[in-house]
């Protein structure tokens, strides 16, 4: 049942990651390895642990056991032969800098303009010089197609535009990995594409990324591999072309069939 896990070229490597909330175990030993530049789609029913997995990778949640490696660096803890020690808040913050996260609900800073949102990391975390941060921020806004909205506040932007700003804000920290947690689920159907196009462009630039998504079309066309999760476990993973078109497990087949049903009714 378990698919291949360790691979020597892996850039992001999760080994037996367990996350418990009290008595409830949200991740029951998840192992994943992602090569540099790969885009992974994370699919599965609601409550299967997709968000939890992403949140553990950038240490918004502390895992109960297991290890997470990015490159040669262990994330969130220091595991040695004598045990596992949680890292200091200072080190965790530094690790988070390099693991970009995009949320379903954008979570832009409402009191800052689009540009100030994008430069918030460089300015407030890296203490970059304001002029330099501004220049880089404008470049990023242009990259997501929003140069003309630099001075707008989030509430003056559409959902799709806010999400593009949020992506630019994450990119401003020059992350090694980008995590997307259902980036288009809160959007009106007509703005979904503009955000997906930006994500596709980020992927084409060679970014390593994980995307929890219900957009099967996007998973099919823009991801190299797909991971199907259920009840805190990986049920099936492999090339997207395989998992999404011809899954091996009955559960994945059922899940995809159910989704097609939903898609059929909404379109």
């Amino acid at each position: 049942m378990t698919m291949a896990t360790d691979s020597p070229g892996a850039f992001l490597q999760l080994r037996d990651v367990v996350k418990a909330y009290g008595h409830y175990v949200a991740l029951k030993g998840v192992s994943v390895s992602v090569e540099k530049g790969q885009a992974i789609a994370l699919i599965g029913p609601s409550g299967s642990g997709k968000s939890t997995l992403l949140r553990c990778i950038n240490t918004l949640e502390t895992i109960s056991s297991g290890t997470i490696m990015v490159g040669d660096e262990e994330i969130g803890a220091n595991t040695t032969s004598s045990g596992r020690k949680k890292l200091s808040e200072k080190v965790l913050a530094r690790q988070r800098e390099e693991i970009g996260m995009v949320f379903q609900s954008f979570n832009l800073f409402p009191h800052m303009t689009a540009l100030d949102n994008v430069t918030s990391g460089p300015r407030l975390v890296r203490e970059q010089d304001a002029g330099k941060a501004r220049k880089q921020g404008m470049e990023l806004l242009a990259r997501v197609g929003l140069a003309d909205k630099a001075e707008n506040f989030p509430r003056q932007l559409s959902g799709g535009q806010q999400q593009r700003v949020a992506i630019a804000r994450a990119l401003a920290m020059q992350p090694r990995i980008m995590l997307f947690d259902e980036p288009t689920s809160a959007l009106d159907p007509e703005t979904v594409q503009e955000v997906l196009n930006v994500i596709r462009e980020v992927r084409d630039s060679g970014m390593t990324m994980l995307i929890a998504t219900h957009e099967m079309d996007f998973a099919r066309h823009a991801s190299d591999r797909t991971i199907f999760m259920e009840a805190g476990q990986i049920v099936e993973q492999g090339a997207s072309s395989k998992v999404l078109f011809d899954p091996e497990t009955e559960r994945c087949r059922q899940f995809l069939a159910g989704l097609t049903g939903v898609e059929a009714t909404t379109h």
């Binding site: 950038n58 918004l60 808040e89 200072k90 913050a93 530094r94 690790q95 988070r96 800098e97 390099e98 693991i99 970009g100 996260m101 949320f103 609900s105 979570n107 832009l108 800073f109 409402p110 009191h111 800052m112 918030s120 990391g121 407030l124 975390v125 506040f153 989030p154 509430r155 003056q156 949020a166 804000r169 994450a170 920290m173």
Partner: protein, 237 residues
């Protein structure tokens, strides 16, 4: 004696005693509100620390200072403390009393304003690598401030009125100045009208400042309209 004498009214309006009293009322209000905001914020931040002790301290503090009347606090500070060997001047007692009595209200406003900022804002900040103090200062505090300004405006008005109580420990603010003046000419109606006018005027100026602040931030603060309509609804019901 006429019921109303305009000349007395205008005489009082610019009388040095009244103007000095007005000035005392204004600086006393602003100073003690400022001190109460500092103290109340510190108390609120302590109350946010997740521990049995700090939460207990917070609840005890708010309950105690809200339950004791300002008048009792003032008399205690000015007249009872000397019995314990602590002698405060009138001004000191007035400042400390007004600050202490106001601080629990500010603490409650600060506490609820801070928790009104969504936790998602903390998460988004942490995800970029911000540390807690940075998040508090640049992300959460500015948003909480905008939420806190309308209720803090109410506190200014309350504090302005509360300053009249320090007349009891013989501090000559606007009300006591007015009273002093009537001792000389026995025209109470004109004198109190002048005092009322100045209290109203101070409140009006404050309201203008507050509106200017709210307007300045209305470009990003989305809830204003919602809150206003909700208020209307509740009053209409």
């Amino acid at each position: 004696m006429n019921v109303w004498d305009w000349s007395v009214f205008f005489h009082n309006l610019v009388h040095p005693t009244i103007l000095t009293g007005l000035w005392t009322t204004i600086w006393l209000t602003l100073l003690t509100l400022f001190l109460a905001i500092v103290l109340g914020t510190v108390v609120a931040l302590i109350g946010r620390i997740d521990s049995f002790l700090t939460r207990g301290f917070y609840q005890g503090y708010v309950a105690f200072f809200r339950a004791t009347p300002l008048l009792v606090q003032l008399v205690f500070l000015y007249s009872a403390l000397p019995q314990m060997g602590i002698r405060l001047s009138v001004v000191e007692a007035a400042i400390i009393g007004l600050m202490l009595s106001e601080s629990p209200y500010v603490a409650e406003i600060v506490r609820s304003s801070l928790s009104a900022v969504p936790t998602a804002q903390w998460e988004a900040s942490r995800a970029i690598g911000m540390r807690p103090l940075t998040i508090m200062r640049f992300i959460v505090f500015p948003q909480a401030l905008r939420i806190a300004v309308p209720p803090l405006g109410n506190e200014f008005v309350r504090q302005l009125k509360n300053t009249s109580l320090v007349s009891v420990i013989s501090m000559t603010e606007l009300f006591r100045a007015t009273d002093n003046l009537t001792q000389a000419n026995f025209r109470v109606l004109e004198a109190l009208s002048v005092a009322t006018l100045y209290y109203l005027g101070a409140t009006a100026i404050w309201t203008l400042l507050q509106n200017a602040f709210e307007k300045r931030n209305s470009r990003w603060f989305a809830d204003t309209g919602v809150q206003k309509t909700e208020n209307l609804k509740t009053t209409a019901v």
